[in-house]
Symmetry: C2
Subunit: 593 residues, 2 copies
């Protein structure tokens, strides 16, 4: 039962459901439905799909998440970045408007969903970690710029498209002279209205006595107002006949539920983009869920979230939708409006269904320019150039990863940008680990501690060299280790003992083991004993049965202090022998006292 | 001058050259020339090229290495694995026997050479480290198997080819019924003779009174004898007319020296295979050079070796040759025969030049079966299945990397195998680092040391939790860190202080920094102070100006002992306040004493 509850969180909160939580969740659902309608339509068009597909993707996923999700506030559905990635992937296989294009988008949702579910069951959530913070931040910023640039075409009534920000800007440059003035008036008017709603409306509402939270929520419904106003204007003035592009006939009725065709050849073709969409979507979704859960001390289970997000995408696919994920803005509205249980999401789905059943005829005269304007305003919040400055001041490699992600995304598009960012951050990490920090150690006087001779006032022994390598020993730095020890020995020709101090060595792989064997042999030829100290338990367990430990000329010590103490007295007793016994320690006979 | 000498080691040994070293080097050159002739021809044919190209690739590279190389004994030229990789890469662009195929092979040498030189100047030798020991061992074993299988066709007089071991075996299966008996007699006869030379001849020579080393060297000349014998047999019995495939006319004369065409489109196409050939060749070459140098306590400069090997390949390309590298067997012969300076290599080049000028007509009747036999015997030494067992017993991940490299190479060919091996070893490394070892620490009684509570008898304090993460904190484990600390706090609800003990933390990247900030905030909400101890110098330098250190609820301690000592007395004085002063520490009044 515990296991079933783990995979079906609905059993937990469903049992405690009552009329108060019900009425609360209903109000939340009404607000979120109003917020979702323009977003659903807009992101479907951003993904190159018919507007109704956005509505389809906003029903089943919400219900699936209500069943499987662990966050109380997360709202899933079409989001900007995943829609852009869908357009990029589907566009490589077919032209917009064809059934093949729609099929590719649905298949992307299906394959993403299956991948996410598999990752959840196999506990592969760690894959999401490969998207480092700088890469994801850079990617989201660049995607935001690309989406905003791409929507300038519809806003101005021109045809400016491209696979990347750069392509789009070039296309805009060539076509901007053909701006359609009436369209531009609607588009730019909507932009100004929506920016004003964001910046100017809230203080006004608060001044009129609204509570701050309520004002915040009302502001989020601004796009619905813009859409209603522009529909009325376009319909009233007959602007569609004057060249203003409108959404046109949106088929009503609920989507047909059907398994997408099991076209494995297609699935293999979209595997990489589907994986990227899955991971980007998951990272976005889990971050939102964790942030909101922390505020109310609720728990979110990362592995179960993979399953829930996967189920949401499979739900989207079998109801003819495209890839979805947890959106930040809508989840915050959900949270702020007081969603008590995931049922709020299910009720939102019902709201969207009612719209799909009865209100689609009203969308006929909706100008595409107004939808484009809602997208632009929504994605401007994604663009965060300050993060670049922050990264620069902390770490040049993190900055490089972020900058390359941004530049490649702007230049070559989303997939190339993500892959370049992930590849570069892994490469830079391995490069850094291949040249680890190495310190020669000395004893802090009066303590058992050994610290870097360059940073602290410490005592060293002439016959003993203690070297601490601040990294695991593994293939990228195995050769560096050999070089370092060779050089250290060359610089200290009088040493008899070399201690490799290993508190930072978390693993020793086969490559490093073979290098250590080579080092041991070479030191032996030079008359130097190799010792190890502060080897960690798990590392020692692995070394126990190796040739290295049998062939080691020296010993393995639990602590560096024990190592130096023993080797010191060993050296002293050798000194003792060489100098001919205790004589030198006695008071010489010539002493006048 | 020092800089010039660094890049031109010839200036160093050239100044000390005299008649004794000269005569010594001449004798070495004679022996190595005899060994190189059959190898050059055989590896050219293995690479799918005309036999004379092998001779071309054995002249200029030797002279270039003599000028730029730092090893006294390394002999460069065509080798088995690089020849196989050349065939795989050129075969993707053109058919064997066409001028385009030869052009691709020459371009591979050129691009490899330029890449190696660039890597040398940019000190990018660390790239070679990405080929971990298990991957390179697995790759060489699989390549050896593929080469041996591929030569069974010529040995049996059948046409069995393929891009991978598997393809070749399937092809052999289908064609073996067409075995040409006379060819097979020559081929298998050569094989038996060559194996006998390897195993049986040396003891015989030693019994006849030869010094062991001399016997070793004579054994290496066995292939020349096999070639002369089979030429005589084929020519004498007119076997070429009976269907035995012969080398045929080998154009005499020195190669024309000319820059290969600057065909950048072609160069881009072969960039990846050229890079793989460069790195595999370099790893092979530098290992041989280091092994031999260590025996005579000579120095080898890894970066200069990149330049030398690069110059050798450029030399090969401009004299119409294909990729070369330092070969193990021939370098050992060079070393054992007593090569005193790199001039021995230059004299070997002269020897090959004389053969090319005057002896090529003698090669007309050389049966291809005999050449194939020399290759099979040479590469069987590359196959080392024991390494698999060794890897299994030490580390399952290293074993997995080796096994996957072998299997993918056998199944899909050399490039796929190498890429899979390198990719998998990097992935496995990152996976391991993403779930690092974590230990809760306690104090070893009577010392300042803190060790894992699960492995040692240690003292812990009820209000303090000390956690040591045995890894650098960076993006693959940033989320794991958050999960770990959340769980640890949930399991220890009474703690007031959490100390993150960082002796194994070598870097903290931006992702981990942001995770630490989040952890600090969450712990603050739970009334727990976060402290850091044993933060290393370089890590502390980076943390100094960050938001984390300003917002940190606790302190940073130099040692874990200092941290626990201070927090203990802090907790004690709080206890003191709560329990109402010193009373509880006094003898209670009711005490009868």
């Amino acid at each position: 039962m515990g296991l079933i509850k783990g995979y079906l969180p609905i059993l937990e909160w469903g049992a405690k459901y009552n009329s108060k939580t019900f009425s609360n969740d209903m109000i939340v659902a009404l607000i979120v439905t109003m917020m979702l309608i323009p977003q659903s339509l807009a992101y479907a068009i951003l993904a190159g799909l018919p507007a109704e597909v956005g509505l389809y993707a906003s029903m089943a996923p919400l219900i699936m998440y209500a069943i499987f999700g662990t966050s109380r506030a997360l709202a899933v559905g079409p989001v900007a970045v995943a829609s852009l990635m869908t357009a990029a992937a589907a566009g490589q296989l077919a032209s917009q408007g064809t059934p093949e294009y729609l099929g590719a988008a649905v298949a992307l949702a299906m394959v993403s969903g299956l991948l996410l579910i598999a990752m959840g069951f196999l506990k592969l959530g760690f894959l999401a970690n490969f998207l480092s913070h700088p890469v994801i931040a850079g990617f989201i910023t660049a995607s935001g710029l690309q989406i905003a640039a791409g929507q300038l075409g519809p806003v101005l009534g021109i045809h400016a498209e491209g696979e990347s920000f750069l392509d789009i800007v070039i296309s805009l440059w060539h076509t901007i002279s053909g701006t359609h003035l009436i369209t531009a008036a609607i588009g730019i008017g909507s932009l100004i209205f929506l920016f004003w709603v964001r910046k100017g409306l809230k203080p006004l509402l608060v001044r009129f006595g609204l509570r701050e939270k309520m004002a915040d929520i009302l502001v989020k419904i601004g796009p619905v107002v813009a859409i209603i106003l522009t529909i009325v204007i376009v319909a009233g003035l007959g602007l569609a006949d004057k060249g203003v592009k409108i959404v046109g006939k949106v088929p009503g009725g609920l989507p047909k539920v059907a398994m997408p065709p099991l076209d494995f050849a297609l699935w293999m073709k979209i595997l990489v983009p589907a994986l990227l969409i899955s991971i980007v979507g998951y990272v976005e979704s889990i971050s939102v869920a964790l942030t909101l859960a922390a505020k109310k001390r609720q728990r979110v289970d990362p592995d179960q979230e993979l399953i829930a997000l996967g189920a949401s995408n499979v739900g989207s696919a079998i109801s003819g939708g495209f890839p979805v994920t947890g959106g930040f803005a809508r989840s915050v509205v959900n949270f702020e409006a007081g969603a008590e249980t995931p049922a709020a999401g299910a009720f939102t789905a019902v709201g969207i269904a009612l719209v799909t059943l009865f209100l689609t005829p009203l969308l006929f005269f909706l100008p595409k320019a107004a939808l484009a304007a809602t997208i632009i305003v929504a994605v401007m919040g994604l663009v965060d150039m300050k993060a670049l400055k922050h990264a620069w001041s902390y770490s040049k490699t993190d900055f490089a990863a972020m900058a390359v992600t941004i530049l490649v995304t702007l230049w070559k598009g989303v997939e190339a940008g993500l892959i370049a960012g992930v590849g570069l951050s892994i490469f830079l990490h391995l490069y850094r680990t291949s040249r680890p920090h190495v310190a020669v150690l000395g004893q802090v006087p009066g303590t058992e501690h050994f610290l870097n001779v360059k940073r602290h006032e410490v005592i060293t022994d002439p016959g003993i060299l203690s070297i601490r390598v601040d990294a695991s020993l593994y293939f990228p730095n195995a050769r560096f280790l050999e070089d370092t020890i060779n050089n250290a020995v060359a610089e200290n020709p009088d040493i008899k003992h070399l201690i490799l101090v290993c508190p930072a060595v978390n693993t020793i792989d086969l490559s490093a083991l073979e290098s250590l064997e080579a080092i041991n042999l070479r030191l032996k030829d030079s008359g130097i004993k190799l010792h190890l100290s502060e080897v960690k338990g798990p590392v020692m367990d692995k070394l126990k049965d190796t040739h290295l430990l049998h062939a080691l000329t020296g010993k393995v010590y639990l602590t560096q202090f024990a190592a130096v103490s023993e080797l010191r007295s060993e050296l002293a007793s050798e000194e003792f022998k060489i100098t001919g016994g205790p004589m030198c320690y006695c008071t010489p006979p010539s002493d006048p006292s």
